[in-house]
Symmetry: C2
Amino acid sequence: MSEWQQTKEQFRKYVKTMKSYEEAIGLLYWDMRTGAPKKGIPGRSEVVGELSDVHFRMSVSEQMGGFLDALTQPEANAQLDAVTRRMVEECKKDYDRNKKIPPELNQEYVVLTSKAEAVWEDAKHNDDFAMFLPYLEKIVEMNLQFIELWGYEGHKYNALLDLYEPGMTVAKLDEVFATVRARAVPLLQAIAASPYQPDRSFLAQTFAKEQQKAFSLFMLKEMGYDFEAGRLDETVHPFATGLSPNDVRITTRFLPDDVVSAVMATIHECGHALYEQNIGEELYGTNMAGGVSMGIHESQSRFWENMIGRSGAFWNRYYGDLQRHFPGQLDGVEAAAFVRAINHIEPSLIRIEADELTYNLHIMVRYEIEKGLFDGSMKVADLPEIWNSKYKEYLGIEPPTNALGVLQDVHWAGGSFGYFPSYSLGNMYAAQLLNTLEKQLPNVFELVEAGQLLPIKEWLADNIHKHGKLYQPSELIRRVTGEDLNPEYLLGYLENKYKSVYGL
Amino acid sequence: MSEWQQTKEQFRKYVKTMKSYEEAIGLLYWDMRTGAPKKGIPGRSEVVGELSDVHFRMSVSEQMGGFLDALTQPEANAQLDAVTRRMVEECKKDYDRNKKIPPELNQEYVVLTSKAEAVWEDAKHNDDFAMFLPYLEKIVEMNLQFIELWGYEGHKYNALLDLYEPGMTVAKLDEVFATVRARAVPLLQAIAASPYQPDRSFLAQTFAKEQQKAFSLFMLKEMGYDFEAGRLDETVHPFATGLSPNDVRITTRFLPDDVVSAVMATIHECGHALYEQNIGEELYGTNMAGGVSMGIHESQSRFWENMIGRSGAFWNRYYGDLQRHFPGQLDGVEAAAFVRAINHIEPSLIRIEADELTYNLHIMVRYEIEKGLFDGSMKVADLPEIWNSKYKEYLGIEPPTNALGVLQDVHWAGGSFGYFPSYSLGNMYAAQLLNTLEKQLPNVFELVEAGQLLPIKEWLADNIHKHGKLYQPSELIRRVTGEDLNPEYLLGYLENKYKSVYGL
């Protein structure tokens, strides 16, 4: 083996060890959220902290620096296989970014955000924005410091967007969100004005938890979720976590008075899980084994939840199964009425309960505020007022309290800026993918209606999942759909669907 | 802070990090045994391997060497608090031992035993000792190499005993086992000859799993198991694992045709768990936080399972609860008859199913063989014959196949020599502790009969659990009972109990 090849092998081994830490940390988190005994949590958090610290130090170690130096030399780099070249690129990105932040500053930030999360909880509970204000100001200030240290192109906020959606920019988001807003707001107004509102009264029943679980398991099987490489558990907040492609766990929740919640959460999380389960085998144990961005990940969950799971075709096939799981409870209700009910659109104050149309408007409020905070056009102190006026403008409703307004999400307390747009990007990518899928598999909804979901899963696996992080999000979307991110598909999908649901 | 104090603090922090690795590894194992998806197991094993390797390297690192050098200097050492002094002592023991084995040799051994375990499985399945022979020979040979490298005092086997029961020697075991054998074998013969055999026919029923679980949970509560610092799961082989004193998990199994199995396994594992849950708080995060030896650990599980859980007093209190959990199924059976049934004594071929009397004889067979292998008086090739003749001699029965004889346990394939005696030591320690407990808490069995198990738990916590690994096993036993390990207590207990059960 040449020296260069040895370095390459050592680098890959080193990355594999880092992945082992991620896998262990992933399990520690999963366990804390699914059933770890209460008294063990503080100690367990320290264990996570210790292992995360080792992982972080590995990403900026001299050894890593040496690997990157050697493997980014033009001659060596040119000889690398495509996967290893991307591995090097990603490690270098992390290395450069992490190296620029002095450890003390990072430590200060960890302490600040962990305090801020606790303060936020109290502030929300007491509807007291003033209490949270100094923390949020400091978090924004420190993020501005980080941005200066990292460096940025164009808008400062780009540096934060890049953490979740590599390559995404304010310029692009301004453009797509303007397009969405211009058509989503009128669509929402038309829906609100429609006399043809769905009846949802029959959903107000008690649905046995055991049967909800049975139906969830049934749906997971139908969608091709591999139970030999995963499991379903129950948590307060549903999530999916890929410990490795061979162990991708889902959680959901069973609310006795809301059967739709569990069904949709399960389908949504399964969308995430299928992505992680179908990563290409040649990427196992590398830093390419995972979803490429939050937006692309969210496109998978939302594709399954909304485009498939709330479609008429889907329930033409599966409504009978749902009825059988709850004998007598849905007897007098037609599949079509059920579909209308679960596609009910209504502006609400709380993002996490929003429907697929208004969700984008919730996100836009946050996007515009984050952008304003980082270009200096908005002050943290003014956020309650700004928040409320934007909700009025986009959603036509105004929060009666800050707890239901600007304080509703924990993300900012944790320092997660640049993350929210991923949700809307997920919706846009999903619709764009659906458009391509329908061209390449013309009878998509006939397949759905026949209960043949696997060809859809396979298409997504071949086009998206198997590539892991090999391609940047924009490149991936171009490869699959032949064009850049284009919000027209989402808008067309929404207008078309809701014209029918609301008889517009 | 003086330099010496800084070193001390750094050393303690370093040990805490090692404990964090142990906690993570513990959870990874627990997860693999309780519900990790099948396809994830091979990758998960690699993760365990990577983290274990880091842990091992930390135990023999230059940094550890430096700490130990500094903190074993007489002046520094004299200033240490008692806990840190013991921490240093234990780390030094591991350091010295691990440093003596060349890494390649250790690697070779890991590969050998992992292969041997697979071969053993096939050999047992095919009743083919010859197939396993070369592996077992090589394992013994390598252990002899290790013993030479480690060094030893007296018998070579002492070096292996020390791994599980620090300070235990062949000289001591020869003495206690001779005493036990001299009285256990005649007792067994008298029992076999008794015309007054317990009726067990009423146990041959189907007991609903859900109710077995409910009763297990009830018993755990009665024994003072802290559910906020633990949880109960189901596995094929019951176990307890202390991830930290605040997270001590139990598993048990529910056999539909054997209610006694789950009850006793739960009580047994709870005995282990109480030990780990009641470690003194000042030991948290140190290498003193855990049971001091396999034998002392086993004394806790066997104390609860046998001395308490199979006692008449216990079932005078709890038999009604058991009956209530299985309505109608035990109606015609008196508590006394139930107690006799679960104290049935019968020589059997399989150790793990053995009763509390014959168990010790099973262990003696293995002890004598292990001793013989390491002093050269026995050859691996002769083991089937030796095994069978010893079973005949001690238990009066002979295995019809090697699968039911010398091949029955996996331990040797994994290289666990010196481990088996812990089980009998557990029985002896337990009886000795009971004797002291009865002096210090004279109405022990009245408390049991009144369902007041907590004072017993507290006594064990104060006398054994809270000390963690602070005292060597022999020292601990002397501190609590005022004398060295003494098999008379076990023999007295067995003779007394079984005279009554069998009307001798």
